[in-house]
C-alpha cells in the first residue's frame, strides 16, 4: 500500500517506532492509545510500513488480550478475576457489576457507555478484591464501593 494522505494520522503515530527492533507491539500500543482501538483498516498500513504480511499483523493483534478491534465504551471497568481476588469474593462482585450495568463480562453495552471485562491480576493481591476503572486502580473493593463506582459511570 502506498503512503497516502488518508493514512497521515496513522503514519504520524507509527513513524517514531519504525527503526526500533521488534516494533510491532509498541506500534499497536501507540495506535490504540491514539485511536482507542486498532481498526481493521490500519492492519495493511502497519504491515506495509514494517514489511510484514497482513497475516503477521493480524496474528499479533488477535493474540494479545489488550488490543481492541472495536472501540471500547466511554468507561472501561475491569474487575480482577484471579485467585487472590476470588478468595475475597470477586465472583460476587462480577455478578453484581454485570447485573447493575446490564451487560455481561467481556462486553461493551449497546449504548456505548461502558465496557465490562475481567483482568487477570493487577498485582493488588494483598488488597483484594481489586478493579480498574478508566485506568484508575481500586483496592479493597466492597459491594458498597463497587456500587459507588457504578453510580459514577451511570451519572
Amino acid at each position: 500500500m502506498a503512503v497516502s494522505a488518508e493514512n497521515a494520522p496513522l503514519d504520524a503515530v507509527i513513524a517514531p517506532f519504525l527503526k526500533e527492533p521488534g516494533a510491532l507491539l509498541p506500534i499497536l500500543h501507540a495506535v490504540q492509545a491514539a485511536f482507542g482501538y486498532v481498526d481493521d483498516a490500519a492492519v495493511p498500513v502497519i504491515a506495509d510500513r514494517l514489511n510484514l504480511s497482513r497475516a503477521d499483523v493480524h496474528g499479533v493483534l488477535t493474540f494479545y488480550h489488550d488490543f481492541r478491534r472495536k472501540p471500547a465504551g466511554r468507561h472501561v471497568l475491569k474487575l480482577c478475576s484471579a485467585e487472590a481476588c476470588q478468595s475475597m469474593g470477586a465472583n460476587d462482585l462480577i455478578a453484581q457489576a454485570s447485573a447493575r450495568l446490564a451487560t455481561p463480562m467481556h462486553s461493551t453495552r449497546a449504548d456505548g457507555v461502558v465496557t465490562l471485562e475481567p483482568v487477570y491480576c493487577l498485582g493488588l493481591c494483598s488488597a483484594a478484591p481489586s478493579a480498574m476503572l478508566d485506568g484508575q486502580i481500586v483496592g479493597r473493593l466492597t459491594a458498597a464501593r463497587l456500587d459507588t463506582l457504578i453510580d459514577g459511570i451511570a451519572a
Partner: protein, 506 residues
C-alpha cells in the same frame, strides 16, 4: 521543613494514597511529600510516615478523612493517635525479616538516584567493575543464587553460558511479566527501588559482555512502567547507562504466557507470544537470535547485594540448595497480607498463620495456593513443609515466584480446579496440543464432575489428562496446570463427589 512519606506504590494508591496527599496539601502547611515505595505491610497501606527527632514514625492505614484528626493529634511531631504504629522498622512484621533485596524498599525515594546512592546503591556495581569478568561470574556462582522466576536454575551457570558464547551482540532481558495471582514482589521493587534492578542489569551485562537490555513489564502495571522509565532516565543522566550498556522498557499486552521466557522473547521481537521449543536455549540463541541472559526481577535485584556484601553473606542463609532469601508474598484472604523477605527454610504454616495472621475473614484457613495459578493447593495438614525448592517439589507443589494465596473454608475447590483449566485454556499460546486442547477438555470434564455426572470415571479421565499435559506440554503453562487441579482433587476429595456424598447422606 517537615518531610512526609506517602507511598506511591500501586497498593497504597489503590487504597487512597493520592487522596491522602491531596488532603495533606489542603492543610496549607508547608510540607515536603515524598512518594516512597511500600514497606510491604500492605494491610497498613497507605502507611504515612513523618520524619521526627526519633526517626520516621508511621501511621496506617490512613484515609483522606483521617488527615485532619492526625494533624490535630500532632502528626508532624509523631504525636499519639490510634493509627500510630511507631517506627516501621521496629514493627514485628519488619523486624523479624531478613531484608536483602528489599532493604531499601519503602525507605528511599524511588525517583531519586541520589537517594539510592546515599543508601548504599551502586556499591555492588563498583565492586563488579573492579573484578575480572571470570571472577564476576565465579562470585555469582559462589552465592548459590537460583532464578527466582520459578524454575530455580542456578544463575551463575546461565550467565557463564552466555559469557562463553561468541557473538557480536548479547542481550540482558529482565522478565517483569509478573502474571501470577498472589505475587507482587516484582511490582513492589520496581515501584519502590527501581535503581536496584537497573544496577543488577548493568552488573549482568558486565559479567557476560552484553550491550543492550530490555525490561519486559506487563501492561497491567502502569505504575511500575513509569517508575522504571524514570529510573532508566536517571541512570542515563548519571552515566550509568548509555555508553557501554543501555536498556529500555518494553510493555506487554495482556498475555500470561509471555511470562514464559521464550514467549517473552518472541513478544519483544514483535511476534505472537508463542513458546519456542528448547534447545536452543536463550543463552545460546535468545533475543533476535543472539545469546541472551533472561532473568526474573528478583534474581537481578539480588545481584547488587551479592556483589556489595560478598557472596558468602548471601550463601550463609537458606536451606539445602536454596540459598539466600525469598521475598514471600502473602495475599488473598489473609489478615496481614504483604511482602515478607526471609531466608529459605521457614515453614508454610509459620508464614500463613504466624506472619500472615490467618484469614482476613476470621474463618478457618482451608487451603493455600503457593506459586501462582500453576501452583498446588496445600491443606493445613501440610503446613510443616519448609519453604525450599526441593521440599515443595517433594510435597507435590512448587514455590514458583513465592506467592501464597490464602482461602478460607467457603472456597469451592472443584470450582478452583475448573478455574485452573479455564485459565490455561484462555492463556494457552496454542502451539502444543496437550495445553491447547487438554485445557478445554479439562474444563468440560470438570463441568461433568461438578454436575455429578459419573464423577469417579471422569476423575480418572482428569488424572489421565493431567499426566498427558504434565509430560507432553512444551512449557510450564500446560505442564503445571495439573498442579492446582490434582492437588485440589488429592487434598480435598470431598469437593469433587458431591452428588455421591449427598446420596450417601440420605
Amino acid at each position: 521543613m517537615i518531610t512526609v512519606y506517602v507511598p506511591g506504590d500501586a497498593v497504597a494508591v489503590a487504597c487512597g494514597a493520592d487522596e491522602v496527599v491531596a488532603a495533606l496539601l489542603a492543610t496549607g502547611i508547608e510540607l515536603t511529600i515524598i512518594r516512597n515505595g511500600s514497606r510491604g505491610m500492605h494491610w497498613l497501606e497507605p502507611l504515612v510516615e513523618v520524619t521526627t527527632s526519633e526517626g520516621r514514625i508511621g501511621y496506617g492505614p490512613v484515609s483522606a478523612g483521617d488527615v485532619a484528626g492526625l494533624v490535630a493529634a500532632g502528626l508532624f511531631e509523631g504525636g499519639e493517635h490510634p493509627l500510630r504504629i511507631g517506627r516501621p522498622e521496629q514493627h514485628p512484621f519488619i523486624a523479624s525479616q531478613q531484608r536483602m533485596t528489599f532493604a531499601r524498599c519503602g525507605i528511599v525515594d524511588p525517583a531519586s538516584m541520589d537517594d539510592y546512592i546515599a543508601h548504599g546503591g551502586g556499591f555492588g556495581l563498583e565492586r563488579a567493575r573492579a573484578l575480572e569478568p571470570t571472577q564476576r561470574i565465579d562470585l555469582v556462582k559462589a552465592s548459590g543464587l537460583r532464578g527466582r522466576g520459578g524454575a530455580g536454575f542456578p544463575t551463575g551457570i546461565k550467565w557463564d553460558t552466555v559469557a562463553l558464547a561468541d557473538s557480536p551482540r548479547k542481550y540482558i532481558v529482565c522478565n517483569a511479566d509478573e502474571g501470577d495471582s498472589g505475587t507482587f514482589a516484582d511490582r513492589m521493587i520496581m515501584e519502590g527501588d527501581p535503581f536496584e534492578l537497573v544496577e543488577g542489569m548493568i552488573i549482568a551485562a558486565l559479567c557476560v559482555g552484553a550491550d543492550y537490555g530490555y525490561v519486559y513489564i506487563r501492561s497491567e502495571y502502569p505504575h511500575a512502567i513509569r517508575a522504571m522509565e524514570i529510573a532508566i532516565e536517571g541512570a542515563r543522566r548519571r552515566g550509568w547507562l548509555g555508553s557501554e550498556f543501555d536498556m529500555e522498557v518494553r510493555v506487554g499486552a495482556g498475555a500470561y504466557v509471555c511470562g514464559e521466557e521464550t514467549a517473552l522473547l518472541e513478544s519483544i521481537e514483535g511476534k505472537r507470544g508463542q513458546v519456542r521449543a528448547k534447545p536452543p536455549l536463550p543463552a545460546h540463541k535468545g533475543l533476535f537470535g543472539m545469546p541472551t541472559v533472561i532473568n526474573n526481577v528478583l534474581s537481578l535485584t539480588a545481584v547488587p547485594h551479592i556483589f556489595a556484601d560478598g557472596p558468602e553473606v548471601y550463601a550463609a542463609v537458606g536451606l539445602g540448595r536454596s540459598r539466600g532469601t525469598m521475598p514471600v508474598q502473602l495475599a488473598g484472604n489473609c489478615r496481614h497480607p504483604g511482602l515478607y523477605e526471609t531466608p529459605f527454610g521457614i515453614t508454610l504454616g509459620e508464614l500463613v498463620n504466624d506472619i500472615g495472621g490467618g484469614t482476613a475473614s476470621g474463618r478457618p484457613v482451608y487451603a493455600v495456593q503457593v506459586g501462582g495459578p500453576l501452583g498446588a493447593y496445600f491443606p493445613p495438614k501440610l503446613f510443616d513443609t519448609p519453604f525450599d525448592y526441593e521440599a515443595f517439589t517433594k510435597a507435590g507443589g512448587l514455590i514458583g515466584h513465592g506467592g501464597i494465596t490464602v482461602f478460607d473454608d467457603t472456597v469451592d475447590m472443584a470450582g478452583m480446579a475448573r478455574f485452573a483449566f479455564e485459565f490455561c485454556a484462555a492463556e494457552s499460546c496454542g502451539k502444543c496440543t496437550p495445553c491447547r486442547i487438554g485445557a478445554t477438555r479439562g474444563v468440560e470434564t470438570m463441568d461433568k464432575i461438578i454436575a455429578g455426572d459419573r464423577p469417579e470415571a471422569n476423575l480418572e479421565l482428569i488424572a489421565d489428562l493431567a499426566e498427558t499435559m504434565k509430560f507432553g506440554s512444551l512449557c510450564a503453562l500446560g505442564g503445571f496446570t495439573p498442579y492446582p487441579v490434582m492437588s485440589a482433587i488429592t487434598h480435598f476429595p470431598e469437593h469433587f463427589n458431591r452428588r455421591a456424598l449427598a446420596l450417601a447422606a440420605e
